[in-house]
Point group: C2
Chain length 415, copies 2
């Protein structure tokens, strides 16, 4: 509903290798029972400055520990190896050694320094990486990497995802074309977390740009972008051990961006926000077993924090999510969730709309026939807008429904 003309152009079919100088590959090394691609390599021809944000789970996976150490460090990052099928979490010292060994193997194969390589994992917790398979996979990926390999990489990082999630945009700065792109995976164990801007999901997100920037600026751009994207989605309110979101900038466009509030900074922030919001919404739409995409909009809250806890309570409510699955307008569950969220308001001032249909006025039924609301829900994508009538603060969350398939996928999950 943005009335402004966007300052960037969306690249049709774009992704993590749309920016200049990035290459990628996706190969099968035998970690997934399905035989599908399970190892991705992301590579930059030149050194990248970088930023990362990671799970705050007390059981961070070994590769998370490794990435945290190396990202935004002095060595310019050149490569990331990502495997799906095994999370390498709760794997002790051997797991840590393996995470380091994966990065080392990649570095040797690619002819870069060891600390210029990273490893990421997603999949089952508590299982050690089968290093022989990984070693073969890394060699194959290094041989297969190509400038348009982003899509293959996006496929290889999937677990219970049903489709790859990619996006890229470009804009011009002083005649130089700057591209920002990315890919993400994540369909379950998805929950946001507001302070600090840490994405909490079984999500891995890799963002690339050919802008030139410094680590400190990239860290702030990334934090801002995560705050309005991955921290605004929820599927099941479970925070993973492996959540990782990293941004790599290799500078090949020749355009320099600093986090300084200038117009170039704004252009870059807008482009990055579009990419991460597209990826985040894509995660919700592809949420495990999901059949609905629901935008929960809270307005009229006392302050931003209250707007957020209210939106989050509704977006996380099992009873709301199952009602949405059933196309049951059951607005009482939405009001009940708002009522226990901790947000302060007077029940008699509350309004609720589904899209443009009034559902509740003055805390009571607004009289729109249930059948009309149910029809609207059957479209598979709608907005639940609650106004608390207290103030002017607002917040938005994107969420999915809870379906039989969600239960099926998670009751019987072996990648």
């Amino acid at each position: 509903m943005n009335q402004n003309i966007p300052s960037f152009e969306v690249i049709e079919g774009g992704g993590v290798t749309s920016a200049s100088g990035f290459e990628a590959a996706g190969v099968t090394c035998g970690l997934k029972r399905s035989g599908k691609a399970d190892l991705a390599l992301l590579y930059s021809r030149t050194d990248c400055n970088s930023a990362g944000t990671f799970t705050s789970n007390l059981f961070p996976a070994a590769p998370v520990v490794l990435c945290k150490k190396r990202v935004a460090g002095p060595a310019g990052i050149r490569a990331v190896v990502v495997n799906s099928g095994v999370a390498n979490a709760c794997t002790g010292e051997l797991g840590m050694e393996n995470a380091r060994a994966v990065a080392k193997l990649a570095a040797e194969t690619l002819g870069i320094e060891e600390d210029q390589a990273l490893s990421c994992s997603t999949g089952r917790i508590g299982v050690q990486l089968p290093m022989d398979k990984l070693a073969a996979g890394i060699k194959a990926a290094a041989a297969a990497k190509k400038p348009d390999g982003g899509h293959e990489a996006a496929l290889a990082i999937m677990t219970t995802d049903t489709r790859p999630k990619e996006c890229a945009v470009s804009f011009f700065l002083d005649g130089k074309k700057v591209t920002v792109g990315g890919m993400t995976k994540g369909a379950g164990m998805i929950a946001p977390h507001m302070y600090p801007a840490v994405p909490h999901a079984t999500m891995l997100c890799f963002l690339t740009t050919d802008a030139a920037s410094d680590n400190a600026s990239l860290t702030r751009f990334l934090a801002d972008a995560v705050e309005v994207s991955f921290n605004r989605i929820t599927v099941d309110n479970d925070m993973s051990t492996n959540d990782t979101c990293m941004l790599f900038a290799n500078g090949e466009s020749g355009a320099k961006i600093v986090y300084d509030g200038s117009e170039p900074a704004q252009l870059f922030a807008d482009a990055l926000r579009h990419v991460v919001q597209t990826l985040a919404k894509g995660m919700v739409m592809d949420g495990e077993g999901s059949s609905k995409f629901v935008e929960v909009l809270v307005t009229g809250a006392k302050d931003a924090a209250q707007a957020h806890i209210c939106a989050k309570a509704i977006a996380d409510s099992m009873l709301c999510k199952t009602a949405w699955f059933g196309c049951d307008p059951n607005w009482g569950r939405i009001l009940a969730a708002a009522g226990y969220s901790g947000a302060q308001f007077s029940p008699e001032n509350v309004s609720l709309d589904y899209n443009d249909k009034p559902v509740v006025r003055g805390g009571m039924d607004a009289g729109t026939p249930e059948a009309e609301l149910s029809e609207l829900m059957k479209t598979g994508s709608f907005t639940v807008h609650i106004d608390l009538g207290e103030g002017v603060a607002s917040d938005t969350m994107w969420t999915s429904d809870i379906t039989y398939d969600y239960v099926k996928i998670n009751a019987d999950y072996h990648t």
Copy 2:
């Protein structure tokens, strides 16, 4: 596992009318589409002192507002009318008038004062009570009430419950037999809340005793009992608009109990605790669509609050609950939940057991074959015991799994 000989005797088939001087009835007045009993009356031959604890939802149902005003007040309570099928929540001033009218009708029919009668409702939110049906139901229930009517009342307050939940025990004090009994309903919208001791669930719980006690003592006995029962269960982490738990004492046994730490107080507290814990566990076992009863035991926590948030995170985790449904030992999800719970600990000190089987030692797989753990889960009832290795505090939560039936029931809920 209590090695002590209990100080009370469980009354086989006992319930809310086991204590002397209480009568009850359950009748059909046409609120449920199923045609099953939907109106219960609980009656005491003599005035009761009382205590109550209620939802803290900002949308309390009209009858909750009424009960809050009258319970533990100066008028001795004599009767409670409970209807299922319609929650009388989010119903505005008319809903409030109707709640008062129900109590008034009951009072007139029974020949007691208006403020000695209470009304409670459970069912769909946002719908007005059909007062003509209620009026007929109240008359029928008043005519049908009897000293052994507890079971019929327990059936009439059910919504998605599949079975009534009742319990009663008795003990002797100075040669006088004191009985404590109760009934509860609640299968969904069930979530605990620790401070203050407020049960948060679509639960209605009615407790009766023929002990003599004062309102202030009853309030404290009830708070203690709720804290170790209803505040220790979770089904779906949704807090209802109608949660109500009330305790009525008519004094007919002649035994006087004061909340003063004395031996009689302890005897009464033990009896009451047994009754509410039995009812609370019964609610979890009968949780919507539930196929497993899981006790989550956290030990070795730094303090009680940390033990509780850790137990609650595991007990509420969608991914743990769906894995339990699938008899998938997937211990990584339990550790992940502990890791994001907010409890502080060192991953390498964490142990996990399913019943007496070691699952995790030192934060890693303990080597018990998955098949053995899966077999144990198939029994339908097991304990998940995590030791954080930090201190000596512990906590217990009782929870259920999330099944296809949970989704089915809630995607298509019209009582």
